[in-house]
Structures are given as structure tokens and as C-alpha cells.
């Protein structure tokens, strides 16, 4: 390889790294700056780790723990329900032939085209009458509509790859079909289940529109709504806001990096993360 293309390649990679990584770096840098620096003297480009103690004391003014608890409840509920229903759908779509299968597959795909905002108002009306409006469970029910099909696609793809003989052996042993799924198939596809779980979990973790619309009571707020409430509000120091945003982002970044390859595999059978 000649010199100039190699230099170009290095330059390109550097530019991409700056564009891709800078906002996250800047979150950390802002979190570790003082208000005076941010608004008057100018933000330092480095990470001032000596400001960590003052950041922690500022963070204690933000109800971050309560928000993250609410977020975790929504995310866990979304995961459990999506995976349970998604495993049933994925197994049926992979192993059975039945009337209506094509339509059901199409409808599952369709959910990924539907904008969240489009079912917002009818869900709002439904939740009023079901008493689910100001509740985290209402959020779970709304989120699962979008993450169940994704889980179903991933699980179907994984089961497709499991040889059928394994199931026949279990059937000879007189294991009922449901037992075959839970005791034979699901353990084999555990890595794909984990990927589906992470995707569903962070769909619930990141969700904003439903949470911002359905929750009135700010003690119920998940972190997405809580953090968004800082926009246009200047009472909370910006460093605390960025610190909270960073803590909120960290689990998502770590887990998405872990499962990135699985997501690529799942993408061919359906849309995964928007």
C-alpha cells in the first residue's frame, strides 16, 4: 500500500473517532466542570478528575436513584413480558405450519413501521379506563407492543438454526411440546435470548414518549423523563445534569457493545433498534 492512501485512512479514522466519540467525552468533561467555567471562563477541554467529589455532592440533589429504580422496573417488566410472549411466537413461527402464519409474520413486521406517536392517544384513552394511566405497568404494556415482535424475530431465527432431531428425541421421551420449548430449545438458544433480553431491556430503559405522556406524578418518572425535564431549566447545575446523563447512558453503551454482533445477525429477519 502506498503512503498517501494510508495517511488518508488514518485521517479518516481520526475524524470518525472525533465525531463519534466527542459527545460522550464532552458529557464527561462537562460533568467534571464548575458552573463558572461552563458559563463564564470557558470549559476546559480535559477531564478534571479533581472535581469528582463536588460532582457527587451535586448529583445527590438530583433524585437519580428513584428515577433509575422506576426505569429499571419498566425495563425489567418490558423484558420479561417481551421474552415470554416472544418465545411463544418465535417457536410457533419456526416450528409449525398453520393457517394465518404468513399474515402473523407480516403483522409482526408491521409493528416496526408504526410510529409510537400514532398509538399514543388511543392507548392514553385505554389506560384512563383501565386505571393504568399514572402507572409504570401501563408503560410496560405499551413498550412490549414494540419489543415483543423484535424478540420474536430474534428467537425465531435462533430456533431455525437448532436441528429438528433434538426435538424429536425429546418427543420420543414423551415430553410435551411446551416442555420441549422451555427445557430443550430455550437453553440451547440462550445467547440469542440474552441478546433479545438486552434489546428489550434498553428499549424500556430509553423509552421517552410514552413515559412523558402517561405519567403525571413526578415520583413515577423514569430517568428519561426526569433528565428531559432539565431541558430549559437552569436551577440544577449543568455538571450534575451531564453526570446524571452519563450514568444513565453507561449501562446502555456497555450492553449494546457486548451484543452488537448478535444485533447484526437479527437485522436480516426484522428491524431491531431505532
Amino acid at each position: 500500500m502506498t503512503m498517501i492512501p494510508r495517511l488518508l485512512h488514518v485521517a479518516l479514522v481520526v475524524v470518525l473517532v472525533i465525531f463519534g466519540g466527542f459527545p460522550v467525552y464532552w458529557m464527561a468533561s462537562t460533568a467534571l466542570s464548575t458552573n463558572a467555567e461552563l458559563y463564564n471562563t470557558g470549559q476546559s477541554a480535559g477531564l478534571q478528575l479533581q472535581n469528582l467529589p463536588s460532582l457527587l455532592s451535586e448529583l445527590s440533589k438530583v433524585p437519580l436513584l428513584r428515577w433509575l429504580t422506576n426505569t429499571s422496573i419498566v425495563a425489567l417488566g418490558t423484558t420479561v413480558l417481551s421474552l415470554t410472549l416472544g418465545a411463544l411466537a418465535g417457536y410457533a413461527l419456526s416450528r409449525f405450519r398453520f393457517r394465518g402464519k404468513g399474515i402473523i409474520g407480516f403483522l409482526l413486521f408491521m409493528t416496526q413501521v408504526v410510529p409510537e406517536a400514532l398509538i399514543l392517544v388511543p392507548l392514553y384513552a385505554m389506560f384512563i379506563s383501565l386505571g393504568l394511566l399514572n402507572s409504570l405497568w401501563g408503560l410496560v404494556l405499551a413498550n412490549v407492543g414494540f419489543s415483543l415482535p423484535v424478540a420474536a424475530f430474534i428467537i425465531k431465527g435462533a430456533i431455525d438454526a437448532v436441528p429438528y432431531e433434538i426435538e424429536e428425541a425429546a418427543a420420543v421421551d414423551n415430553c410435551p411440546r411446551f416442555g420441549v420449548l422451555t427445557m430443550v430449545i430455550l437453553p440451547i438458544i440462550a445467547p440469542s435470548l440474552a441478546a433479545a433480553a438486552i434489546i428489550a431491556f434498553f428499549a424500556g430503559w430509553n423509552e421517552y414518549l410514552f413515559a412523558a405522556t402517561f405519567l403525571m406524578d413526578n415520583t413515577m418518572w423514569p430517568a428519561s423523563v426526569g433528565l428531559a425535564s432539565f431541558i430549559g431549566q437552569y436551577e440544577t447545575p449543568l455538571s450534575a445534569v451531564m453526570g446524571a446523563a452519563l450514568i444513565f447512558s453507561l449501562p446502555a453503551v456497555v450492553f449494546f457493545l457486548i451484543i452488537q454482533r448478535k444485533i447484526v445477525a437479527g437485522i436480516t429477519s426484522g428491524a431491531v433498534k431505532g
Partner: protein
């Protein structure tokens, strides 16, 4: 499948006919019914309600008192400049997101498709935009774009230029929102394209090299056709996501200034929850859905066309 039981049933014709309506035929539905029922209640019923609402006059204050008015909401939509503006912004935003996001993502994938020291770390950093939650991304970009103290304007004024109102003037707001969108979308494109590039069979490229084909020709004749289906799929996904996108746009600009970033979906929420006009809001949403569906349909037709061609 369950060979033993069907073998036994075959010898008893009467029981066989019965069993067609019992266990075996019912089994798939026992599995598929719970998820389907769930989606019917929490996805498709609300969707049908919303489409129905677009033919009614309904206020958010009292949604149970709604009145069927046929196509009046769509008449109002087609007569309102707001609608054409929202449609125009949605199309521009989505097309630009696809063009810029897919171009940058593909370039990044090509750059990462050859080994170099630190590639794993670079790859991880390039995925940040895709992994950071929307709300956190909006907060940091709002600060980066901050007119007085943001880092972008510090650079701009440092160069001796006037500071730029990134999100607060009509001609800059959409490009700024697009910049954040590309930051989020390009990593995903890169991830998928990288996988496609790595699945190009090395023997074919080797054969082309032996035939003395130059790099550009190998790319055009071998690599590009191989990754084309993936490129199309990923473009479809980015297009559909852009038509659907709400969080980032709403949190960065709220649809403003003066509606300059109000896509159909942002308009839908505003009309419903600020103007309390559920009928008109639903009409906005239905147009958005039709747009997303047509993109998906065009993609499906493309695929069928290609499948037919490869069979001949």
C-alpha cells in the same frame, strides 16, 4: 414430528378425523395466540382506533364525545400550509438522514474493514452514537449547540466568525437536528455494513486480483454487488426510522423555530396535546404511516424484482 401418535391414529380413521380438530391442529395456536392477542389489544386495536379517529371530530378534553365527519380532517389538512410544510420537512429530513447516514456509515465500515492497530477500540467508540439513549444524547448536543457557551460556537468565534444560532433559526435548525441524527444512525449502518463487507468471499476477490483487476474494479464488480441487498435493507430501516422519529427532534427543538423542524409525527403530538384536536392529529399520523408503509412497499417490490432476476 410426533411419529408414534400419528402412526397410531392412522390405524383408527375415526379418531384421526377427530384429532385433526384437536391436539395437533390446535397446538400451533396455543403458542401463537397469546402474543397475537397481546398485539391485537395493545398495538392493532389502538392503531385502528387512531385511524378511525382521523374521520371524526374529537377533542382531547372529552374523547368519548366524538362525531363522525368523514374526510373533513383530511380536507382541512390538504388546505393547511402547516401540513405541506410538515410533509416537506419529513421528506427532506428522511431523505437526508438516509443519504448522509448511509454514506457516512458505509465509509466508516470501509475504513474499519482492514486491520490496523486499535481497531477494536475505534469500532467501539464509533458505536457510541447508536448506544447512547435519546434523552442523554439530546442533553449533551443541546449543550454542544448552546449559542453562547457551547463548544461549537467557541470554535466558530475562535476562528473570528459570528456565532451561529444552531437550533434557534429556521435555516439552521433542521441541518443541526440532522447532524445529531447522522451521529445516531451512521454507527448502526456501519455495524451492519461491516458484517456484510466481511462476508464477501475472499476467493472471488483473489480471483479478480489474479485477473489483474485494479482495486476500484474489484470494488465495483465484486464487493458492491455482494453488499447491495444489505445496503438497500439498511436504507429502508433508516428511512422508516426517520419518518417515525420523535424523541430527538422534539427534545432538541420542540419542532421549532416557527415549525422549521416539525415533521408529521411532531405535528401529530402537538396537534393532539397542545391544540387538543385529536381528529386532525390522527390525520397527520395516518399520512405519516402511509409514507412509512410506501417506503417499505417499494423496498419489498425491489426485493421481489431482484429475486425474479436472479432466478432467470
Amino acid at each position: 414430528m410426533t411419529d408414534i401418535s400419528t402412526g397410531a391414529a392412522r390405524s383408527l380413521p375415526q379418531r384421526a378425523r377427530k384429532s385433526r380438530f384437536s391436539a395437533k391442529a390446535v397446538l400451533p395456536y396455543i403458542f401463537i395466540l397469546p402474543p397475537v392477542m397481546y398485539l391485537a389489544v395493545f398495538m392493532f386495536w389502538p392503531l385502528a382506533r387512531q385511524i378511525y379517529l382521523s374521520f371524526t371530530k374529537t377533542r382531547l378534553i372529552n374523547p368519548s364525545r366524538s362525531q363522525f365527519i368523514g374526510l373533513d380532517n383530511y380536507d382541512r389538512l390538504l388546505a393547511s400550509p402547516d401540513f405541506y410544510s410538515a410533509l416537506h420537512i419529513t421528506v427532506v429530513y428522511s431523505v437526508m438522514a438516509v443519504v448522509l447516514g448511509v454514506a457516512l456509515g458505509t465509509i466508516a465500515a470501509l475504513a474499519l474493514n482492514r486491520p490496523f492497530p486499535g481497531r477494536t477500540i475505534v469500532r467501539a467508540v464509533l458505536l457510541f452514537g447508536w448506544a447512547v439513549p435519546n434523552v442523554a444524547a439530546s442533553l449533551v448536543w443541546l449543550w454542544i449547540f448552546n449559542e453562547r457557551s457551547g463548544v461549537l460556537n467557541r470554535i466558530v468565534t475562535g476562528l473570528g466568525l459570528d456565532s451561529v444560532p444552531w437550533l434557534t433559526t429556521t435555516h439552521m435548525a433542521l441541518p443541526s437536528v440532522l447532524l445529531v441524527t447522522v451521529w445516531q444512525v451512521a454507527p448502526f449502518v456501519m455495524l451492519v455494513m461491516l458484517a456484510a463487507l466481511q462476508s464477501v468471499p475472499e476467493e472471488v476477490r483473489e480471483a479478480a486480483r489474479i485477473d489483474n483487476a485494479d482495486k476500484l474494479n474489484i470494488f465495483r464488480a465484486v464487493t458492491l454487488p455482494h453488499v447491495m441487498p444489505t445496503l438497500q435493507l439498511v436504507s429502508l430501516l433508516v428511512a422508516v426510522w426517520s419518518i417515525r422519529r420523535f424523541d430527538i427532534i422534539y427534545l432538541l427543538t420542540g419542532g421549532g423555530p416557527i415549525g422549521s423542524t416539525s415533521t408529521l409525527i411532531v405535528k401529530l403530538r402537538q396537534t393532539a396535546f397542545e391544540n387538543h384536536d385529536l381528529g386532525l392529529a390522527s390525520a397527520y399520523g395516518v399520512i405519516g404511516l402511509i409514507l412509512a408503509l410506501s417506503v417499505a412497499t417499494i423496498h419489498a417490490l425491489f426485493n421481489r424484482h431482484r429475486a425474479k432476476r436472479s432466478m432467470q
